[in-house]
Chain length 137, copies 2
């Protein structure tokens, strides 16, 4: 039996976050000690580790909820789980694809200013004028 603090140290998930996951229904309501404190078992630790790992990979709470639901049906086909992962890969690729043009524009903007007076600042002029940009964004 683990206290919430021990579970927190074991998984790297902060205590208020564990309570939040319980409130969101990702973690079942924990058993309680006589004095109303949460007590966990190793299955809880595994479930929370799964959640943390999925969160670290950027899955939303909703996606994780579905993945956990699917885990409970060992004999069903896994296409739904696979599809959620594919979708997450697309989301990550999409974020990168949106950040790269920003990186390019910011490189241009920061590289061109000679650090003179505000009224001649290339940074401020670029922000005022999207026409100076090389890409849409």
């Amino acid at each position: 039996m683990l206290t919430i603090g021990e579970l927190s140290r074991a998984t790297g998930v902060k205590i208020p976050t564990i309570r939040y996951y319980e409130q969101m229904g990702l973690m079942a309501a924990a058993e309680r000690s006589g004095g109303n404190q949460r007590r966990y078992e190793s299955q809880d630790r595994e479930r929370l580790s799964f959640i943390k790992h999925a969160r670290d990979l950027g899955f939303t709470i909703e996606a994780i909820r579905e993945l956990l639901e699917l885990s409970g049906h060992p004999n069903r086909p896994c296409v739904d789980a696979d599809q959620i992962a594919v979708r997450q890969l697309e989301i990550v690729r999409d974020k990168i694809a949106k950040l790269r043009p920003l990186e390019k524009e910011l490189e241009r903007i920061t590289a061109h200013c000679h650090g003179d007076q505000i009224k001649d600042c290339y940074v401020l002029q670029s922000l005022a004028n999207h026409d100076m940009c090389e890409s849409e964004h």
Copy 2:
């Protein structure tokens, strides 16, 4: 004189967002018509375009507030503005650097599952086991 709807169409910023920027102090409180409706002039449109462009490049409201403040002092050196842009470039690069390992892991995870039963699903096993990952994240 522009109504808030016209300003919205001219800049691509939604009406509630314009009101929100006023509340946050990014836009000055607009003049009002006899019937208490906001009226804008072309300087307001330029300021809002600046804000939108900076937001599109990922600058935070706080950073934009500072950039706008600096714009008001044409004869001062622009190093502070330049520094804010450099910082933003770092933030964008940092985000990309954090997303790339996620992309790699998700590529591996999605490529390896044969779509059989849940109990053998490589996606779910990978999420349960960070040891299967090739990178930290």
